[in-house]
């Protein structure tokens, strides 16, 4: 059991322990969660420190063990520049959630176990190097999130959870169909990602390649989510608990986006090139559409949910642009892909923080509606400050990670496909909607539910603060992150050239 497997399965073991020990009190359960999450993050830090970029097409810390030899599927894990940042981001967000949930009253033991389970699943997905393994974790994450929403949510949670489950499960099965297509097309048959990426099947078979890609895209796009497959997102977020939303937006959405760079692009380069235009359009539409719809929301959580559609739209756009292979745009497309991966990390941190803050609103005032608040800055200055910082970070202000990501995506996309310049309108709309929200909720005379609003408690401060701080850090000193990402990004672009 090497370090990587330890990182992945430590939370799972802890979850099993928590679930098995029936007489465990609430406080110990909560603190166990925090402790395990912290240890896991520490292990991830060790991982990062001992990481050195593997040669293209290979993985660091790779492990392989036979699993289902009959279909050439194995337990194969490893990390590279695409997955390592996401792994780290996952660890951070789960730790933040653990801290945030320290005051959870409703079945804390179950919640801790469930979230630890989810953490294992998500980490596993990001390190999986075998399609079936990938799918296993992909599906289990859906199951776990279903119980998070149905068990700890509020509002019409049952329905939202069911909708989420059916929607994303449909997507995951489409994904599985695509995977089987890859397997059958590969010669020799295999589910191994590295082999499939090394010798992409379905080259020179446009129809079959297109169909398989379509299945995979459907699965990923539903999860990402992109217009018009995003309608499960707002209800799920609105009814999910704060930590649930943070994990859902911060980590689960990335699974879809990660699939683009990990599965779809390297394994179906030709089909991807053929359909890159479509993907680009989907991305552009998601960006603009998500921003506009978010602008129309008066429910803070719904608004943030729709900005997720907008932000993930940038990722899809970059992925699509990367496929628009032209003469000398390879470096630019590399920049775009690097920006996409950065965006995944950045969006995870920032949106996670914003959702936790929105959770504070509901925790104090039992509502998310902007109109119920006003002048909140007076009673809750700390909340106001963090919310403002989060908002500016999310609208892509420099010195925050969002700028790094979006700047790369913009420059890369515009350089590779000048038409995509329209998406810059997105950041103006985003700015408008966040400033409007700030004005509605924080400024003006203190009225409505703002009266008697207690400011952030320590646990909330210590869960949200670090996330934003990290985003700031990335925004000011991006090199450590980019040094990890860029080689892998350029490798992906290189693979697309085949």
């Amino acid at each position: 059991m090497s370090l990587l497997s330890l990182v992945v399965f430590l939370p799972l073991v802890a979850a099993a322990a928590l679930a098995a020990v029936p007489r465990l009190g609430d406080a110990p359960a909560r603190w166990t969660w925090v402790a395990v999450a912290a240890v896991d993050l520490g292990l991830i830090a060790v991982l990062w420190l001992r990481y050195d970029t593997p040669p293209p097409g290979q993985l660091a810390f790779a492990e392989q063990a036979a699993w289902i030899p009959g279909v050439h599927s194995s337990y194969h894990v490893g990390v590279d520049g695409l997955s390592l940042p996401l792994v780290a981001m996952t660890g951070v967000i789960y730790l933040a959630c653990a801290v945030y949930a320290l005051r959870e009253q409703h079945r804390p033991r179950g919640q801790a176990a469930l979230f630890l389970f989810l953490q294992s699943v998500n980490l596993g997905l990001f390190v999986a190097a075998d399609l079936i393994l990938f799918f296993v974790f992909f599906d289990l994450s859906i199951v776990g999130m279903y119980f998070v929403i149905a068990g700890w949510g509020h509002g019409d949670r049952g329905r939202s959870a069911l909708k989420f489950f059916l929607y994303t499960f449909l997507g995951s099965l489409a994904l599985l169909v695509g995977f089987i297509g890859l397997y059958v097309a590969a010669d020799p048959h295999t589910f191994d990602m590295t082999q499939l990426a090394a010798a992409p099947p379905l080259q020179g078979r446009p129809l079959a390649g297109g169909l398989v890609l379509a299945a995979i895209l459907l699965g990923l796009v539903v999860k990402t989510p992109a217009v018009p497959f995003h309608t499960w997102l707002p209800p799920a977020h609105t009814d999910a608990p704060a930590v649930g939303s943070a994990v859902l937006a911060g980590v689960l959405l990335k699974m879809g986006a990660y699939g683009f760079v990990r599965v779809a692009m390297p394994m179906l380069p030709q089909a991807w090139r053929t359909w890159a235009g479509v993907v680009t359009v989907i991305g552009v539409v998601s960006v603009i559409y998500g921003a506009l719809v978010a602008l129309a929301q008066t429910n803070v959580k719904r608004m943030i949910a729709y900005t997720s559609v907008n932000h993930m739209g940038y990722v899809i756009l970059a992925a699509g642009v990367a496929g628009l292979v032209a003469a000398d745009t390879a470096p630019a497309r590399g920049v775009a892909v690097a920006g996409a991966v950065t965006q995944m990390v950045s969006h995870g941190l920032i949106t996670g923080a914003l959702f936790l803050l929105a959770g504070v609103l509901n925790d104090r005032a039992r509502t998310y509606d902007m109109h119920d608040f006003g002048g909140l800055a007076a009673p809750a200055p700390a909340f106001a400050a963090l919310f403002a910082v989060g908002a500016f970070a999310s609208l892509g202000l420099p010195a925050f990670s969002g700028f790094i990501a979006e700047f790369q995506i913009f420059t890369g996309s515009i350089a590779a496909a000048p038409v995509t310049a329209v998406v810059v309108l997105g950041i103006v709309v985003t700015a408008a909607l966040f400033l409007r929200a700030l004005q509605r909720v924080l400024t003006g005379e203190t009225v409505g539910r703002s009266l008697g609003f207690t400011d952030l408690r320590a646990r909330e401060l210590w869960s949200v603060g670090p996330l934003l701080l990290l985003s700031l850090l990335i925004g000011v000193v991006p090199r450590p992150l980019l040094d990890v990402i860029e080689p892998a990004a350029h490798a992906v672009v290189g693979q697309l050239g085949r």
């Binding site: 279909v71 289990l140 068990g151 059916l166 059958v184």
Partner: protein, 474 residues
Amino acid sequence: MRPLLLLPELLLAAGALTALIGGSFLPRQRQWPVRIFTVVVLVATIVATIVAAALPLRAPATTAFADSYAIDTATGVARILAASGTLLVLAVAADEIAGSARESETYALLLFATTGAVLLAGANDLLVLAVGFLLTSIPLYALIGLARTPGSAEATMKAYLAGVLFGVLLLLGVTVLSGLTGGTTYVELTDRLAGAPRAAVTVAAVAVISGLMFKAGGVPGHFWVPDAAEAANATAATFLTTVPKIGALVAIYRLASVLPASSSWPALVAALAVASMTLGNLAAYWQPDPRRLLGWSTVSQVGFLLVPVVAAGRSGLALPSLLGYLTGYTVTNIAAFAVSAALPRRRNLADWRGLGTGRPWLAAALLVALLGLVGTPPTAVFVGKLTTATAAWDAGYAWLAVVVFVNTVISLFYYLRWIAAAFRGHRQAPPGIGEVAPPNEGRPWSARLAVVAAALSLVVGLASGLVWSVVARP
């Protein structure tokens, strides 16, 4: 001749008779020795199978009684599965019928039916097939009728009449086939069917396969399944939705691989598969009674199980994936039924509220079992679905793989209805079966079985490499 090759079957049949006779001398409350004996017989069967398979002194695959019975991996796996399936069912019986007047007879009937299932699976001769059909069907009628309730009587009648009709069909097909070829063993069929008139062969194929669909419980022979699952007692319901299917599906596989492609049997099987899974899923959609819901879900599972049969002879994955899926299906389905058997009074999904808080382990078992039946990784059925769909695609039936997964989405809905009910809040139930349930509400053995079987389905899924190495033996 080599009758020793049939040692497991002999053990089962002899064990059945012994249990029957031995039981008749035991006082009603003390028939447990028969149960123990049955367990011993089943374990012995499994051991015998494994030993025989492990023995190096014969070629991996052979036949007995002049080609009329095949001894190969499929038969071996079927023996093990049928025996262990019955073994697990005994746990349900231990709660339900312990001390009842017909306990010994029940064990005897279970063993007989198991024998029949194994005979079906191994049948390499049309006549053996027909007799195996009888041998599995007849005990089932009695088992369904065991619970002397109006419902069970009705279910018995329906199962019986359906059985006879499809038996006639089976015999019709057998008659035509043997008439055309002048032989009954599959070896002869393979040689001679090629030249036979296509129309006649097609009619015969339809007749035989649909006759077997009665035992498998798929379209068009599915009508009795939900009724029996609902009305029969838990022991019978669990058994007859699990063990006979093993025999029937392996039998269908063997027959299909004998038939000439000109009889377009793949189209037939594919059609039956799609019909079964779709009808089963849709009909299960609104069932209020968990037992009946499971009954319909088994219909849909048969549809999934038929998928690899379509690929028979076209993909090397066909047989292993079928056997693998059968393994996963057996444990998972038994787990699901065991959960419903553990709380026999909750005959409406609404009654299951608060299970998650009241009986966490049982709830977990239910969760694993149902999600397993959906095909959620990493349970055994997931591996089954994955491999079978892959086999179908590999054999050029990509659309069938797609249909499989579309149906999986549909199936998700009704399984979730039960899960959601079980995990939603506390339960406002009529007094008497409230949260503080009387100790006799729960049935300990069934509950244990549920947890064990659920765990098994997880283990089989995770250790599918091991399972595969068994089912993929040459």
